[in-house]
Symmetry: C2
Subunit: 177 residues, 2 copies
């Protein structure tokens, strides 16, 4: 439990971290946008998945994900084959071109970060990565009482209506205009 000044400092750093994201997104190879790179990385890391699952990993609305996916598909980097088990869904999969682009992106990322983080120890890079992952988990499903950083089997995450918490709906409270 930290004090207020510490929370404010964390808040400032969270606001400022966007500049790093923007800088990393400026010079992507192959006309690849920042989100496109993220989608390719997720598909490469987690394997084929449905739109809904991708939206969950991106932590954005499915409509947004759908648009991004359409863009990637138009570039020929992924394809959307119908899911035989549920014909409402489509399975996203990297094409060979998408995989090639991912390889290029991966090399580019490694080069850029190796340069910018040249003074960092292996240990500090790992520490920062872990703490950011834990931070994100701390902001997931706060109304269920579980401890996200304890090892939970994936799939037990969503249980709407379970938590007697005091903080209600995660969605935006309607426009104030």
């Amino acid at each position: 439990m930290a004090d207020r000044a510490q929370y404010e400092e964390l808040m400032r750093q969270l606001s400022a971290i966007g500049s790093v994201r923007r800088e990393l997104g400026r010079i992507l190879p192959g006309g690849c946008s920042s989100v496109a790179a993220t989608v390719l990385a997720l598909l490469g890391h987690d394997g084929d998945m449905r739109i809904g699952r991708l939206a969950e990993l991106l932590a954005v609305d499915m409509s947004v994900t759908s648009r991004h996916v359409a863009h990637l598909a138009a570039r020929g980097w992924i394809d959307r084959s119908p899911d035989p088990a549920d014909r409402r869904s489509r399975i996203l999969r990297l094409t060979p071109e998408g995989r090639a682009m991912l390889t290029e992106l991966s090399a580019h990322t490694a080069r850029t970060l190796a340069r910018r983080l040249s003074g960092w120890s292996d240990e500090d890079v790992r520490r920062l990565t872990c703490l950011m992952a834990r931070l994100r988990e701390s902001f997931e499903d706060p109304w269920t009482g579980r401890e996200p950083w304890a090892e939970q089997p994936p799939g037990t995450a969503q249980d709407p209506g379970a938590g007697p918490s005091d903080e209600r709906p995660p969605r935006t409270p309607a426009v104030t205009t």
Copy 2:
């Protein structure tokens, strides 16, 4: 010096951290936008300053900053008094209303983070804050620092058109249309 998988993991976390920022920005009091809150926090923390300095702290273009500042001023949270030393500039300063809003925001931030980070140790909060600050510093002005990671001969550092280097201009390379 970390390996490629570690850099990729860091990249994924950097992409994903936006969800935390968005979540924190959803429920701001007083019709305060995310950027407005950041501006108020910076003025409260660092004191009165000019637009250019604020743009630097926000790590965005001055034109963007100017727009945000105009918005804050219209809300009555800051005022822009002319700088007697340089009449091109204006000094940004919190109004009493702005200070009141900042107090409210600060309390809100502390409450929210205390709840979401209830399982975190004081030490881990501090560690994450420090590592994020350091990450941001690692991405500032990389071309003026000139570390030995580049095999560039000395003297070709900031000379556009001098070397056939593949990693030059920090700015967006102009619209390709």
